[in-house]
Amino acid sequence: MPWNLLKYGLAPKYPARRDIPAPRDLKKSYDVIIIGAGGHGLSTAYHLARYHAINNVAVLDKGYVGGGNTARNTAVIRSNYISPEAVAFYKASVEMFKNLSNELGYNQMYSQRGQLTLAHSDASVRTFALRAEVNKHLGVRSEIVDRQQIREIVPCLNMDENMRFPIQAGLWHRDGSTARHDAVAWGYAMRAAQMGVEIHQHTEVTGIQVNAGRVVAVQTDRGTVKCNHAVQAVAGMSSVVAKMAGIRLPVRSFPLQAMVTHPVKPFLDPLVSSSDLHAYISQTARGEIVIGGGSDPYELYSTRSTLDLKESLVANTLELFPCIAELKLLRQWAGITDMTPDYSPVMGTSPVKNYWLDAGWGTWGFKATPISGKCMAETLANEKAVELIQPFRLERFKTFTLSNEAGATAASH
């Protein structure tokens, strides 16, 4: 039996399935070079090839597909933001996620379970009331729920009135959902590659040649490649890559630490978060409890974990769910969040004419993967930023027209 299995495994008749073709040499030039093979970069490549007939595209990454912050987020999908421009943008993304498995023919494990954000202070209740009204006005399902309703939505939540920060109310967002982050990246990668997009992993961009305000070529550790357009989609390294093109960004990079427990039977259906306790908790399809927190207190490019942040995150989580105190932590990690002053992304045009930005994704990047790819592709094809991303343009910092977004859960405000 083992020999047969080995024979079967090594037989050339049954080759392993490759989601993307084997690596090959870089061409001399491409229409579009996308820096970063994470969800956003691959989604952009997919939309360029599928909807704009632009398939002379290379996606370059110093690591591997979806191995950066695409693999380090907590896979929350929601659209209950507070500024009308952000609500419209993320709502479009949630709509795309609903149909993504069909679109890509790749199971995204999308599951709409609803998302409950908890308020422990009068100030939070007021903000939530505003958020609920803005959301309803724009067709997003959000409502304020009282303590009794919270008990019904999440029976295992600690509703004690004598705890440090008793739960006062919640923002219940029925559209809230989750999906498998690897499937998002690989789904886009596979379909983009089938349409001719080249995905070059382990290809580090080392410089960007700019001449007379235009990108001419991108230098990599495997040679220099010419291009008509270049896009950066490098969450966690936005400032470093933009600097190669001579662009300064309003971005500061902080680690954000998260962890999962060992798997247990399903007991927590909705995604729960608390903006006062800076924690968000959900149970994955395989039963692990995912716990994410706020960003670290100071800027850093290292994804190391720290005991003090993990401790405070666990303490806050146990205040909400004392029932998981006996669970053991299975894995812990950190991602790098590119925080912007107004908690909105930086998308579209840059001071370099054919260099396009998809940056500043802080703690809100994963949920925007489909829509940002769609918008970036359309923007590139028309060489003009589409209306949906206009509020997120870099120029807003020159004209003092910021898009203040206070609905980013883990954000420190």
Binding site: M237, S239, V240, R248, L249, P250, V251, R252, S253, P297, Y298, E299, L300, Y301, S302, R304, T306, L307, D308, P341, F397, K398, F400
Partner: protein
Amino acid sequence: MKIMKCPLNGPRNISEFICFGEVSKMPCPKKVSDDEWADFIWMSNNSAGVVQEWWCHSATAYWFIAERNTVTDEILKTYPASDVFTERIDF
């Protein structure tokens, strides 16, 4: 717990300190152009490497300068602000 050496209080837990970002020179508000001012207000070097930063020991409200590697999280040096700023700056 990570330890930072405060020039005034000696080695203390990092949680007692607040980081206030890279040391940068403020352009003169009366002479500067709008674009340069916006750049000073919003943009950040966000350097990956050794940076010079303002830190404050919150318990004693003592401000000082630290040199830190933002890739390795190593604190290389801490010193009083008077080492860098030898003259009074008026706003």
